[in-house]
Structures are given as C-alpha cells and as structure tokens.
C-alpha cells in the first residue's frame, strides 16, 4: 500500500512545490537582485561616489552575460507542471514556464549585451544630464531583468508580466530627463503601451477561453481541436494577442510615440528602447506565434505580413522627411529607421505563419542581433558626436575614428558592403520570405531597403564632407563611451568577416 501511495504523494507534492533550477534563471535574476542593491546603496553613498553605482551595474551585466555560458547546451527548463492528461506514476510531457532553449539564450544575449553597451554609454550621460544615479540604474536593471526574462517564458501569464516588467521602468527612464520634453515623451509612451497591453490581455482571455490553458504547448495542442463555434473567437484572440506584442515593437499604427520619445529621452535610453525594448516585444511575439498559435498561422501570418509592410514603409518615409538642421534630427532619424527595421524583423515571423522552413524565426533572431549591435553602435556615436544631423558634417576631419565607425554602422544598417553582416542579415530575412512564397512582401521589402539606403547614405556622405569652418574641437571622449563604441565596432567587424557566428541561428529550429 505504501509503495503504491508514495509516487502519488510525490506527484501531489511535485504539483504544489516546484523545484527551481537556479542556474537556469540566473541571467535574469542577477539584474533583478542588483537593481535592489543599487537602490539601497544609493541611499548610503555620498554624491561624489555615485559613479560607483554605474560601474556596479556594468559589472553585474557582465556577470549576467557570463552566466549564459553554462546554459549553452540549451536544455534547461524549470517551473514545470506535469501533464494533467497523464496522472499517476508515469509523468507525461511536462509544461514548463521557463525554458532556456537556444531561442531564449539568443535573445537573452541580445538583451543583456545590449543593456551592457547602453550602460557603458550611460556612465557618461548620467553625469552630463544630471540624472538621479540611483533611480536611473535601478530602472535600467529592472527593465533589463524583464526583457531578459521574457524570451524564456512559455506561458501567457508570465509573458505578459515579463513584458510589463520590461516596459514600466522604461516609462520612468524616459521621464528622467528634467527639461519638460521627457515628461511629454513618457506620457505618450505610457498611453500607447497601456493600450497595447489591454489589447494583448483581451486576446489572451479569448485564447484561454478557447483552449483552457495558459501554457503555450498546451494551447498549441488544444487549438486544433477547438469546437466550431469557438473558432472565430480563437482566431480573433490569436490575432489580438500578437498585435498587442507587435505594438511593443513599435509597429504601425502604434509607432507615434517613438520619434518623440526617443528625442525626449536621454540618448542611451533611446538606444535601449530601440534595441532591448524592441527585442522583448519581438521575442514574445515569436514565441507565442510559433509555439502556441501555430495552427492559426494563416490568420496571424497575414495580419503580421500586412503590419510588417506598413511598418517598414511608414518608418522609411518618416526617416526620409528628417531635415538636417532640426534639433534632435539624428535621434529622430534613428527612431524612424528603427520603426522601419522593426518591419523587417516582423517579416520572418509572418513567413513562419505561412509555413516557411524552421529557420524563419532564426532569421528574425539573427537579424535582431545584427541590428542590435550596429544600432547601439550608431547610438554610441550619437551620444558623443551630437543629436543634430548637421553636426556630422565633416566629422571625419575632426574625429576620423568616430566617423569611420559611424560610416560602418550606417552601411550595416543600410545593408551595403563593407557592412557585410548587415547585408547578410537582410539576405536571411529575404530568404525566409521567398521560401514562404510571399512574393509581394519580398518586393515591398526590397523597395523599402532601397529607400532606407538613401537616408543612411546621405548621412554617411555628410561625415566625409569638408568640415564647416572653425568648429570648436570637442572635449575628450570619456573612456566608457569609447569602450561601448569599440565593443560595437569590433563585434560588427568580427561578424562581417564570419557571419556564420550569428547566421547559424537561421539554419534550424531554435526551440526545444
């Protein structure tokens, strides 16, 4: 009797008390713990020593990146429930809330690496813009924690919570700049984000009603068997959930906050939003679409394809309209271009809905990593060289290294050699969409790539123009900023010589 009862008790205990794999969750956990340490330490540090907080955060992010290494086999999972359909001693396939597979690891690498570059850039800005150090680092780390948590989440509740954890501190980060612009920008950002969350939650509730579960794998199993009268509800639910996440990536028509917010925020925060914030939305979108809603691929695939086409077109047209002499025009141009790039990032996910090869999601991940590196590099130059496009005239004559790095980043964003990795990033996206047989989307994207080339090239050409007379030679660039720039440039060069490092992500399925 005892021998029969023991496994049953075991099973009962297992469902109540979950064993936690601390190694697996360490990468997002470190920034969270550090955020609290920073907040408390801020109270006890004299104003002269506040710079320590920044270096502490940088060290924490490096540690967090290092903690990804033991996970690289990609098999860790935790917070698991045994399958309800197979009770008893034989534990069936379990559903886990947190899975550190290659998809999650790639996005965590992007999020933590991006946050590290942003942190290096911020070491200077926090002092220059006189931002409150403790609050700034706390918010940055908290938001990073959410963004790093999100790609590993495999149930809708955790995904929504992680997404909010990533975005709520971001509103405050935007508002930290105390010159009036920040407040308005933060409000715009907040209102659009909250609307997007509401849409997502509505979609989640529909899907839960139809499938009876929040776990992505269980939803995937249940959706094909949804009774007939619930099918329209399910279709609407899937589309609403994904559209909500797409809004977080600044897809049209919820892109209006982007240019104002980027211009209002401190420049490193704008860089953070353009890469880390976008990566969070994108990771959620990809995971839900492919793991949960695969059987409704045709519905959300088309919705995402249209959204992607609109987003890239609107983003590029907006970027084209930036005038060189306007204040913050460089940041605004990068903001609009980041909207356009979000459009490209959505393309392979849409293609996955249309039954492209398993590498399609990998194409998004690979392109996001490439974009993250070169875009943060561009923001690092903007932090040091100025936020108006006209300030870049003749930069090569004044600061050749910064100008060459900027030219390299811009050509990577445009996808032109010598920015080889930028070019191949676009090639994998094109490959996914050609593979899925969506010719119209491929052609729209091709035209957009050419439009985008125009403004990137105008900017690049500006760098090498003869310098306007008598420009005051800038102050010495702080070493942390040089470090951020050098890191991004070195990554870009290494990836250009051997694109396989990142493109291997696009050669097979990342999940599992």
């Amino acid at each position: 009797m005892l021998t029969v009862a023991a496994p049953a008790l075991d099973h009962l205990a297992g469902s109540l008390i979950q064993s936690v794999d601390w190694v697996a969750i360490a990468p997002p956990l470190v920034p969270a713990a550090l955020a609290l340490v920073v907040l408390v330490a801020d109270l006890f540090l004299p104003p002269a020593r506040k710079a320590l907080l920044g270096w502490l955060s940088v060290a924490g992010l490096v540690a967090s990146l290092a903690l990804l290494l033991p996970l690289r086999s990609g098999h860790r999972r935790t917070f698991c429930l045994p399958s309800p359909t197979l009770p008893g001693p034989t534990h069936g396939p379990t559903s886990c809330s947190y899975v550190a597979d290659h998809f999650a690891l790639a996005f965590q690498l992007l999020v933590l690496g991006g946050a590290l570059i942003v942190a290096l850039m911020s070491l200077v800005s926090v002092e220059d813009d006189r931002l409150p150090a403790g609050e700034f680092w706390f918010l940055l780390l908290a938001s990073t924690c959410g963004a790093a948590l999100l790609p590993a989440c495999r149930d809708l509740a955790s995904l929504v919570v992680a997404l909010e954890l990533a975005s709520l501190p971001a509103f405050a980060l935007v508002a930290l700049r105390r010159d009036g612009r920040g407040g308005e920008a933060a409000l715009k950002f907040f209102l659009s984000s909250v609307t997007a969350t509401a849409v997502t939650l509505l979609g989640v509730s529909f899907v839960y009603a139809a499938s009876g579960s929040l776990y992505l794998d269980r939803i995937a199993a249940a959706l094909p068997n949804v009774p007939g009268q619930l099918q329209p509800l399910t279709a609407v639910g899937t589309v609403l959930t994904l559209v909500g996440f797409a809004f977080k990536t600044a897809a049209v028509p919820f892109h209006f906050w982007v240019p104002d917010t980027y211009a209002g925020a401190p420049v490193p925060v704008a860089g953070y939003l353009s890469v880390v914030g976008k990566a969070a939305g994108l990771a959620g979108l990809a995971a839900i679409a492919v793991l949960g809603f695969h059987s409704y691929g045709r519905d959300w695939g088309l919705a995402l394809a249209v959204l992607a086409a609109l987003t890239m077109t609107v983003g590029n047209v907006g970027a084209l309209r930036q005038r060189g002499d306007a204040p913050h025009s460089a940041v605004r141009l990068l903001a609009w271009s980041s909207i356009a790039q979000a459009g490209y990032l959505l393309v392979p996910i849409a293609a996955a809905g249309y039954g492209a090869s398993p590498g399609a999601i990998g194409a998004t991940v690979a392109f996001a990593l490439v974009y993250g590196v070169v875009n943060l590099g561009a923001f690092a130059v903007v932090t040091s060289a100025g936020t108006r496009l006209d300030e870049y005239r003749g930069l090569f004559a004044r600061r050749p290294a910064a100008a060459l790095a900027m030219a390299f980043f811009l050509l990577n964003l445009a996808g032109l050699p010598p920015g080889v990795v930028g070019l191949f990033g676009k090639v994998v996206v094109f490959r996914a969409v050609v593979d899925a047989g969506m010719g119209w989307l491929a052609v729209i994207m091709a035209v957009n790539v050419v439009i985008a080339l125009y403004y990137y090239l105008v900017w690049t050409a500006r760098l090498f123009q003869p310098a306007p007379d008598a420009v005051a030679t800038g102050r010495r660039v702080p070493s942390a900023l040089v470090g951020a720039l050098a890191l991004a440039a070195a990554l870009g060069v290494v990836l250009s010589v051997d694109p396989q490092i990142v493109l291997q992500l696009a050669s097979g399925s990342l999940f599992g």
């Binding site: 590498g359 191949f424 094109f430 050609v434 010719g439 125009y454 090498f464 396989q500």
Partner: protein, 516 residues
C-alpha cells in the same frame, strides 16, 4: 593558380585597408595605389600565363571552402575562359587609372581616400568576375557601389551629388530585385553554386520559375549593363564622374551586368532565357538606335553637347550590341558579346581618358565651346595638339567598329549570331533586329565621324571660345602616354588577332550552352 587568384583579390583589399593609416598621406598614397594595382596587374598576367589554354571551359585555380554554412554560402572562386579576359582587363584599367591619377588628382578630397576607394572598387570588380557562388556574386556586385558613389560624389564635376545618388539608387533597386531572383533560383534549385547550377542547365526548375528568375535577376543586370529603358542613370553619372571613375564605370562596371547574363542566367535558366530572349533582343536594339540617335543629337552644332555625355550614350549603344549577342543564345552571338565587352572596355576606357585630357586642358568638354557653336570652326586638335588629336581620332574610329580594330569583331559576331539565332527563336524577328542593328552601326559611324570633324579638324588659326582662353598647351605628356599606350596596343592586337580571345571564350561558351 589558386594562390594567384586569391592574391589577386586580397592584394587590393589589403591596400585599401592600408590607406586607413594616416602615415600614408599625400603623394605617398597615390604611389601606394600605383604599386598595389601594378602588382595586381602582374598577378593577373601571371594568372593568364598559368592558365591552361587546352581546357578553357574548365574552372581553374578553384578555391571552394564553406563560409556561411547557415546560408549555404561557399567561398568558391575560379577562373575560366570567360572570366579570365575580364579579370585581366579590370586589373589593367585599374592600374592605368591609378597611374593616371599620379598626374592630376581632381579636387575634392584627400589622396588617401581616393586610393582607398579605388582599391576597394578594384576588389569588388575583380571579385565579381572570380566568384562562383550566387550570394557571393551578389556581395561582390554590391561592394563596388559605395566606392563608386564616393568617387563620383567627392571628386566629380558639376552636378555630382544628384548624379551619384541616381547611380547608386538605380543600381540598388535593380540589385535588390536581383537578390530576390537569386534567392528564388538558389532555393528552388537547392544550391547557390554557379558551377552546379550551370551543370544542371535548369533541370528541375519549371518554366514559370525560370521566367520569374530571369525577370528579377535580369532587371538587376539590365540596370547595370545598362539596357534601355534602364539606362537613364548612366549619362549623368559618366558626365559627373572624374576621369578614372568614368573609365572604370564604362570599362568594367557595365561589363558586370552582361557577364551576369552569361555566367548566371544563360546556363542556369535556359528555358526562361529562351522565353524572354526576343524581348531582350528588341530592347537591346532599341538601346543601339536610341544611343546613337542621342549622340547624333548631341553632336549637332548648337546642341551644347558634352563629349563625356556623348560617349556615355555611345556606351548605351555599344552595350546594346553585347545584349543582342546574348539574346541570340548562340555560341557565335555570345562570343561576340564577350568580345564586344573587352573591345568596349579598351576603346571606351581610352576615349574617356582622352576626353578627360581635353577637359583638363580646356576646362570644358562642351562641343560648342570647343568647336564653336555658330561658325563651327572646329577645335583643330590636329593642328594644336597633334598627338592628342590623332589618338582621339584613332579611338573614335575604333569605337565605330573599323575592321582591324577591337570594336569590329564583337559587333560583327553579335549580328552574325542574330542572322542564325538559336533553335526555337523566331528567325524573322532576329533578322529584323539584325537589320536595325546594322542601321545602328551606320548611325554610330555618323556621330563619331562628326565628333572627329568638330574636335580634331579645323583651322588652328581660328579661335573657338574654349581655345581662345587657353592658347598654348602641352601635347601628350609622359604619364599620359604611358597610360594610353597599352590600350592602343591592345585595341590593335585584339582587332588583328581575334583568335586569341575567341579561342578562350568559345569552348567555355559552348559548355555554358550545354554542349550544343
């Protein structure tokens, strides 16, 4: 062989990287350019000397290693009878351009920048003719854009900014669509390897797929070639570009388009090419007639025709012959196309050098300013600068296809090919095209002889607006003579001994056409 080919590509790239060092400023950068391109030319000649002439259809000096396994991109290089002449031509023209810049670098930027861009451009051009992987081909195709853009935008003449943008945007729109076509071809055929695709001759690709691939890839190649009606970037770019830019643009960049047709489309998608060949031929002939009529309009007194613009339009006409030869899908026609490629590279390269020299001396290339608009006195170069005038006349008659010079054989073979097009193509259509192309040669002769009359002839004692401003000028100088002699010699050699080139291309073309 393998090491030679790798070094041929690596050397200019290393040279371009070296120009980033601030120590290599000023004249030193220009000498670096001459040294690197000279060494590269020596490598190209060594490559040609080591080339096994008994099997020109086979790829030689092959390197084939995996580069990006995720995309199935292999670092696959090789040279055969089709690409070898183009590689040598490219190395030669780059060297001559570097040598010519020693004499006079146009104002606009530092010597370091100029040399770096020229070497980067050389890398891209040489790579285009040496790679055997579709995506690598696309990459090489794109590499040339940024340096050429900056060469035009920084060192160019009047109106250079818009012209440079028009050049790069047109080409890019074409190549973005071309990328889609290449991806479609690679995904459907299961390989991006050009030699494998050529060996399959379109096996397993439906006619519909092939037609779409030819349309998409062909658009990118047609913009580059340029084929009418996608040529409109060319006259502006040529007119605005500095002399070296014009020479390389006409001498090499245009060939990348027609080379793509021969290397990629003809062997990989025979059905698609067969379906679209009549349209390609028709557009080619329109290009021939349009180019020569535009030139005739420019050469009239009072038309304010710019000599550089005129030669640019003449390139549209000449590349029309190349495309017509390709459209016949016969060994004769394609051989003619490849021959015309080389001939045009030599002759038009020389013409742009000469016109650049005229422009340097008189400060304008405007025909009316040189020769007088109303009275049409003629610039009388024969009298004022006899050597320059003689060379210009030589290049002009070579360009109009005088037998015995390099321009003749390509046009003849292209028309001969359309006299007897490939089986299945409508013969009456191609006979009509041939007749119209023949008319084009007459028009070409007409405008080039008019150029000779207006620029070279005349009474040296009567001053035109331009000559009045610059009374006493030096004739051909040392560096100029050194730059132009190889082109003159090769133009005569290719004209008198065409078998040298045809012996290389014929077996390779036959292999591409599937042994027919």
């Amino acid at each position: 062989m393998t090491a030679l080919l790798l070094a041929l590509l690596a050397l200019p790239l290393a040279g371009a990287a070296a120009t980033l060092l601030p120590a290599l400023g000023g004249r030193r950068a220009l000498w670096l350019g001459v040294a690197v391109t000279g060494a590269d030319l020596a490598l190209a000649i060594a490559l040609a000397a080591g080339f096994d002439l008994h099997r020109p259809a086979a790829m030689q000096g092959v390197t084939n290693v995996a580069w990006i396994p995720a995309l199935n991109v292999r670092f696959h290089l090789g040279v055969d009878g089709i690409s070898l002449p183009l590689l040598v031509l490219t190395a030669l023209l780059t060297f001559l351009c570097a040598l010519y810049s020693l004499k006079k670098l146009p104002a606009g930027g530092s010597e370091r920048g100029w040399t770096g861009l020229l070497l980067l451009l050389a890398t891209g051009m040489l790579a285009t003719f040496a790679v055997l992987d579709l995506l690598l081909f696309f990459l090489a195709f794109e590499v040339v854009l940024v340096p050429m853009y900056f060469l035009i935008a920084r060192w160019g003449g009047e109106n250079r900014g818009p012209a440079a943008f028009r050049f790069i945007l047109y080409t890019l729109l074409g190549s973005a669509v071309m990328l889609l076509g290449l991806l479609l071809l690679g995904i459907k055929a299961g390989t991006f390897d050009m030699t494998a695709l050529a060996a399959d001759h379109g096996l397993g690709l439906s006619r519909g797929t092939q037609v779409i691939v030819v349309l998409a890839v062909g658009l990118g190649l047609a913009v580059k070639s340029p084929m009418w009606p996608f040529h409109s970037w060319l006259p502006d770019a040529h007119t605005a570009a500095p002399t070296a830019g014009s020479v390389l643009l006409a001498g090499v960049l245009l060939k990348m388009g027609t080379y793509g047709f021969v290397r990629v489309l003809i062997p990989s998608t025979p059905l698609g090419m067969h379906t679209l060949a009549p349209y390609l031929g028709a557009l080619a002939v329109i290009g021939i007639l349009y180019g020569s009529l535009a030139c005739l309009a420019l050469v009239r007194p009072g038309a304010k025709g710019d000599l550089k613009r005129l030669i640019a339009y003449s390139s549209v006409g000449h590349m029309g012959f190349v495309l017509l030869g390709i459209a016949t899908l016969t060994a004769t026609g394609i051989n003619g196309a490849l021959f015309a490629n080389i001939g045009h590279g030599l002759i038009t390269g020389l013409l742009f050098f000469l016109v650049g020299a005229v422009k340097d001396r008189y400060g304008t290339a405007d025909l009316d300013a040189l020769a007088g608009a109303g009275a049409d006195t003629g610039a009388a170069l024969y009298g004022r600068l006899p050597r320059l005038g003689g060379l210009l006349a030589f290049a002009a008659v070579a360009s109009l296809g005088l037998p015995g010079l390099a321009g003749f054989w390509g046009e003849l073979l292209a028309m001969l090919g359309s006299f007897q097009p490939a089986a299945g193509l409508s013969r009456p259509t191609f006979l009509t095209l041939m007749a119209l192309a023949g008319l084009g040669t007459l028009l070409t002769a007409a405008y080039l002889l008019s150029v000779v009359r207006r620029v070279c002839m005349g009474d040296p004692t009567v001053e035109s607006p331009a000559t009045a401003k610059a009374p006493a000028l030096a004739d051909v100088q040392g560096i100029e003579a050194a730059t132009w002699t190889p082109l003159v010699v090769l133009t005569v050699a290719a004209g008198l001994w065409p078998a040298l080139l045809l012996g290389l291309t014929t077996p390779a073309v036959k292999a591409l056409l599937g042994g027919s």
